[in-house]
Amino acid sequence: MKGDKLPDADHVTRYCGFTQLKPDGTPSGAAFRLRDFANGPEEYLSVNWIELLDPVNRSSAIDQIRTILARKRTMGSLAKLAVINVGYMCSYVHTNTEDSRSLRVLHEPDPVDPSHSGVHGLKLEDELIADLIAQTIEELHTAKVT
């Protein structure tokens, strides 16, 4: 349901384009920053809730996310999906920021993307927090449907 807080034990994926991947294949913090559009900055960082789609089989959930994202955007052939644990990310950022920043990951479903969720509590100038989030990545998967 929209606005529900994701459980700390659950995981999300973040789409990381090739241009935000470092040469070693890991995402830079640049992949975890809000964008500033002409009509204003993004409200939250878009992610996908893995366990909502399949609480047991992660591969199946990742496949579903690939398919969903492919309907919403152009998928780069070298882009990746970064898997992050919700509780660890929030705790890591809270512990390592001067203002003890509290991030919240909330469910933000839309008609074509039921697992769509958002990391709230970020601001446009939060490069430092974006770099901290990048340090919490647990897994990387190819983003494009194979």
Partner: protein
């Protein structure tokens, strides 16, 4: 960038007095032509050149010194005319030039002369003019990012040439700097990262026009078990002065240069 031509008019006057000229590029923003010109001259007359690197806390110099110039004067003048006519033409009067010095300043004065340049040209200059040990890898990486930024549009803005210019200015100004990991921000800016571990991280986004955003994670110099984490904005000229107390050069610069 200035071209510093130091000439000696011994041959004509016998006075032995030295003089020097600072010549700014005739075409504003024609940085590429200047750099390529220096490199081609150096490559063509390699055995007659000696490279000298010097640096201060705020600037660095790469000097290409021509040795035994009197014997090669005609070659030199010929090359001068051929390769950089717009930017280099100097009303030389038959005097023997002894020194060519390309001087890279990280300064706001330089950025005021910046103009948009072609990104492929800028990338080409890395390989043709740079004494960076990783010039080839750097150029290849920038090419990949440049091409990908076009493919990923509109999710990704194209690479910014002003950002790239500032990045190249920095990387050429720090002797012994190590190869950073480079990405693009969504806005198309270059972001260079020197990361040794989760606690030794220095990232710089080049905003263009001599402005940067930086992030530093570094062990506290007084208590290595505590990690300092800072971020902020800085001019390109002041960036390293701000970063210096966090000891980022200990992992962003080769040991031998850092020790020096």
């Amino acid at each position: 960038m200035y071209l510093h031509l130091l000439y000696n008019d011994d041959d004509q006057t016998g006075t032995g007095s030295n003089d020097s000229h600072y010549i700014e590029p005739r075409t504003e923003g024609d940085l590429n032509a200047d750099i390529v010109g220096v490199a081609k001259l150096r490559d063509a007359l390699l055995k007659h050149f000696q490279l000298i690197h010097t640096a201060t806390s705020s600037s660095s110099y790469v000097s290409a010194v021509i040795k035994d110039m009197p014997d090669k004067q005609q070659d030199f003048l010929h090359l001068f005319e051929k390769w950089a006519p717009d930017a280099w033409v100097q009303p030389y009067t038959g005097k023997a030039y002894y020194l060519i010095q390309s001087k890279y300043h990280v300064s706001s004065k330089q950025s005021s002369r910046q103009k948009d340049s072609s990104i492929p040209e800028l990338i080409t200059t890395i390989q043709t003019t740079s004494n960076l040990g990783f010039a080839g890898r750097l150029a290849a990486r920038l090419n990949d990012l440049y091409e990908s930024s076009q493919e990923e549009f509109p999710d990704q803005q194209p690479m910014s040439s002003r950002s790239l210019q500032d990045f190249l200015t920095l990387i050429r100004s720090v002797p012994g700097i190590t190869h950073p990991q480079i990405v693009l921000t969504y806005e198309g800016n270059i972001r260079a990262e020197w990361t040794k571990s989760h606690t030794k991280h220095f990232a710089v986004e080049f905003l263009g026009d001599n402005r940067t955003k930086f992030v530093i994670f570094a062990p506290d110099t007084n208590n290595p078990y505590r990690i300092n984490r800072v971020s902020g904005f800085s001019t390109l000229a002041s960036l390293l002065e701000i970063a210096f107390p966090y000891n980022v050069l200990s992992w962003a610069v080769d040991n031998q240069y850092h020790a020096a």
